[in-house]
């Protein structure tokens, strides 16, 4: 699935739920379904700064594409990072760097998080962008 298609799929998924509580359920499911993240990778340098809960992000380059793995001690935050990496994992650095991350605004995620968590979301996006910049 192309980057655009994947983003559209998430926008469509989100629009199925009218209530934010249901959207949280969806994020919680995503969080629970995220692949296990090895304990030894939960290091200070993989920790995303600016989140109230702890979020770790790791990346690996394979055949010119960046593959992300992540974890968090809070499940909704884990759902959010899971959502982000499902869109951006397996893309080229150029693709990620050129993206405007506008779909996050389109699903209203940032506006519906507490200010501290919204900052956390911004930090997650910044880290993904930076990883792409470094990989170019």
């Amino acid at each position: 699935m192309s980057l655009e298609e994947k983003k559209q799929q998430i926008i469509d998924d989100f629009s199925l739920y009218e209530e934010w509580l249901d959207k949280y359920e969806y994020l919680i499911e995503l969080g629970k379904a995220l692949e296990p993240f090895p304990e030894e990778k939960k290091t200070e340098d993989r920790l995303i700064k600016g989140c109230q809960s702890r979020v770790w992000l790791d990346s690996e380059m394979q055949d010119g594409k960046i593959f992300f793995t992540a974890d968090s001690d809070a499940i909704i935050t884990k759902g959010i990072i899971s959502l982000l990496i499902s869109v951006y994992s397996g893309r080229t650095p150029e693709e990620i760097a050129a993206d405007d991350f506008g779909f996050v605004a389109e699903i209203g995620l940032k506006e519906n998080l507490s200010p501290t968590r919204a900052n956390g979301l911004v930090s997650m996006i910044e880290t993904i962008k930076k990883t792409a910049e470094n990989g170019r």
Partner: protein, 408 residues
């Protein structure tokens, strides 16, 4: 005058609003209480009809503003039963009041090798100013621990106090544990060794009627905003003998007697500690706020509702295997509940409860050392006020159950 909780609620307009289409259930009262109409009305009247700077000018408005401000000081003196109005210093809040003492008392009385005692259950506001003082003076900060049920280990205090102890700084009620500390006993014990005591009354002033002479504490600090008054208001009570012996905290207008480049003399108490333009539109709002606080505290209907809320929430949280409540000593507990849910992050719970219309606090609650002591990264806190109802408490417990089921 007897009141009912529903009548009291009408005095707080915000309580009838909705969030996300659901009725607001405000359980973050330990962070800040809501404002009653009387406080907002007074603020508006002072700002729009009687605004003038206090103490200096001779015109009519200035006299009126000064009367309102100094009248508030008299009212605070009565509220705390202080010995004199000179012992009441207006500050921007409890934090500013404690910083004032940490600086000025510290300048006069704390020297290299001296000791300051705080407890492990203090808010950062009653830790960091003392830490800063100790760094500045090369003094030592000693920490009084808590027992398993959250109660302060007061029996250790005597052993901790030494010849070098200069001040003991303890909260009246912990903002996390919700337990009333035995402050009278702490003051007595400390005084036996000639050591003064500062009480951080940020939470205490809301729940307890405070008589500083009966308590015999040397300093008592509180914020107006937790007591229904305007934000940015606050009070430091200090015994005159200490305030007289302490140098000013800030220099500027209002706090001086004469100024020349050869030397400046300071104003008498309490102006000595009130440099610069004061919060003269705000401080008078303490008057209707304190009146309402006292009326609510002594009202039978409110007391009954508060007891019902306490019994209900305490029992529900204690009996639920999924939940760990901190600060469990029932005889000392107020309706302030900090707890963890096994397998669920406090932030997730707060986020879900928010969408159900419930405002409560999650995280470290400005008490990181206590979180470390309890071995948690953060907690969820529901803190009730006299305008909360049993119905709200029941809704909270129902929603909490739903939220836990979503997460665990």
């Amino acid at each position: 005058m007897a009141m009912s909780v529903s009548e009291i609620r009408k005095q707080f307009p915000i309580l009838s609003r909705t969030v996300y289409g659901k009725p607001l259930v405000y359980l973050d009262n330990a962070a800040t209480a809501q404002r009653p109409q009387a406080v907002a009305d007074l603020w508006q009247k002072l700002s729009l009809e009687e605004n003038a700077n206090i103490h200096r000018a001779v015109h009519h408005l200035a006299a009126q503003a000064t009367d309102a401000y100094e009248g508030a000081r008299d009212a605070v003196k009565e509220f705390l039963n202080a010995a004199s109005r000179e012992e009441i210093v207006f500050t921007s809040g409890a934090t500013a009041a404690i910083n004032l003492v940490a600086f000025s008392f510290g300048e006069a009385f704390v020297h290299e090798g001296d000791e300051v005692i705080v407890s492990t259950a203090e808010h950062h506001s009653n830790i960091v100013p003392w830490q800063m003082l100790c760094q500045r003076k090369k003094a030592e900060l000693k920490v009084l621990d808590i027992r398993e049920n959250g109660v302060l280990a007061v029996e250790d205090l005597e052993k901790m106090i030494s010849q070098r102890t200069k001040i003991v700084c303890i909260s009246h009620i912990s903002n996390v544990l919700g337990l009333v500390n035995p402050v009278r006993e702490i003051v007595q014990k400390s005084h036996e060794f000639g050591v003064p005591v500062l009480i951080d009354g940020a939470q205490g002033i809301v729940h307890e009627s405070v008589d500083v002479q009966a308590l015999d504490c040397d300093f008592y600090a509180f914020s107006g905003h937790k007591l229904y008054a305007a934000t940015g208001t606050g009070v430091l009570y200090g015994k005159k003998k200490w305030l007289d012996a302490m140098p000013p905290y800030m220099g500027g207008g209002e706090m001086i007697a004469t100024v020349s480049f050869n030397g400046t003399t300071y104003a008498p108490l309490p102006e000595k500690f009130e440099a610069g333009t004061q919060h003269f539109n705000g401080a008078p709002t303490l008057v209707p706020a304190m009146e309402l606080a006292s009326a609510m505290r002594t009202d039978k209907a409110v007391q009954q509702e508060q007891e019902a809320i306490f019994e209900y929430v305490y029992t529900k949280l204690m009996d639920d295997d999924r939940i760990v409540l901190y600060g469990t000593e029932k005889s000392a507990k107020i309706p302030l509940f900090s707890f963890a849910v096994k397998g669920a992050h406090h932030e997730d719970l707060a986020l879900i409860l928010d969408k159900m219309g419930i405002a409560l606090r999650s995280g470290q609650m400005c008490a990181e050392p206590l979180m470390d002591r309890l071995g948690v990264t953060g907690l969820l806190r529901a803190s009730f006020a006299p305008y909360n109802t049993l119905q709200e408490a029941e809704y909270f417990i129902q929603c909490l159950d739903k939220a836990i089921n979503m997460l665990v």
